[in-house]
């Protein structure tokens, strides 16, 4: 008899596929010598990360990731490449010794991180469980909760009755907003520095 309940298999398969592709694209980002190709691989990595977020049920974060990273930051990076290019396609050269050292360091770092995480994980023995079975990834209403948390209203299922709890994120939200404004002005100021220099000389 065939196993009829495909859910867990499909979930596992989907995670394996997306995670594998994301990891491969991340490695390709590092390995490739052409800066725009590197940016393209980074784009695939970011899209894969947003796929991971969707798998985790965080639709809102996934959509934000696509909108800001893919639609904004990556366009900015490629724009930067185009504006600073001297030839048609830029190749970055890294010599063999540097590669050997950095790959060795990378493997070391990765193994330390994953083994450290793994031992921690195994020490707990039971492993981390999902928050709750009924709160499935299918119909998540996290967006509303995030909005409440950011606007300073009480949020979360267990915090409805407590008026003081859950107002933690209004101030960070405002700080980030002001930060973005400062970034806007600062980036504009920095990028137009050349024109001033020409006027002086």
């Amino acid at each position: 008899m065939l196993q009829t309940d495909l859910h867990s298999y499909v979930q596992l398969f989907a995670f394996g596929l997306v995670a594998g592709l994301t990891g491969l694209c991340a490695i390709a980002t590092v390995v490739t010598q052409n800066i725009v190709r590197s940016a393209t691989w980074l784009l695939f990595t970011l899209a894969g990360t947003s796929g991971i977020f969707f798998l985790l049920g965080a639709d809102f974060v996934g959509a934000i990731q696509l909108l800001i990273y893919v639609g904004g930051t990556m366009v900015l990076v490629v724009f930067g490449v185009m504006l600073t290019a001297q030839g048609p396609f830029i190749h970055m050269k890294t010599n063999g010794a540097e590669w050997a050292i950095s790959i060795a360091a990378g493997i070391l770092l990765f193994s330390v991180l994953s083994v450290g995480l793994g031992s921690e994980y195994l020490a707990r023995a039971t492993g981390a469980r999902g928050v709750s079975k009924d709160e499935d990834t299918k119909d998540s209403h996290h967006a509303a909760t995030i909005g409440q948390a950011l606007s300073g209203a009480p949020y979360g299922p267990e915090r409805k009755n407590d008026n003081n709890a859950g107002t933690h994120y209004l101030l960070p939200f405002e700080i980030v907003s002001v930060h973005l404004l400062v970034v806007l002005i600062g980036a504009a100021y920095l990028a137009r520095a050349k024109r001033r220099k020409e006027e002086i000389t």
Binding site: S8, Y9, Q11, L12, T22, A26, T29, V30, I35, S38, A39, L42, T45, L46, T49, I52, L56, A58, F60, Q65, I68, G72, T73, L76, V77, G80, Q86, I90, M92, T94, E98, W99, S102, I103, A105, G106, F110, L113, S114, L117, Y121, G127, A128, G130, V131, H142, I146, A149, P172, V176, V183, L184, G186, A187, A188, Y189, L190, A191, A193, K194
Partner: protein
Amino acid sequence: MSDEVHLYPYLVLGALLFTCGVVCMATKRNAIGILIGVELVLNGANINFVAFSKYNAVFQVEGMIFALFVIVLAAGEAAVALAIVLNFYNNHATVDVDGADELKG
């Protein structure tokens, strides 16, 4: 339910992205290549945040909010970094970070 994906694979993926980012920052001489490495590192951290928000009840909303802050700040960081790179390019006609050695004693 042993077939379901647990927290650990997500953390490994995050670690992989983090490592790739660090190696990218170390090997690339191009300023924009270094920026790409930084983005990878931040994404590795973000995967961890969101994975914790799913698998840890205390961290349920916080994980996502932290991830959002990271994404937004990364956008700001990229904007400022690119402005600096453009300025550097205007002054030195290169984006090779080895060219930025004027403060060497």
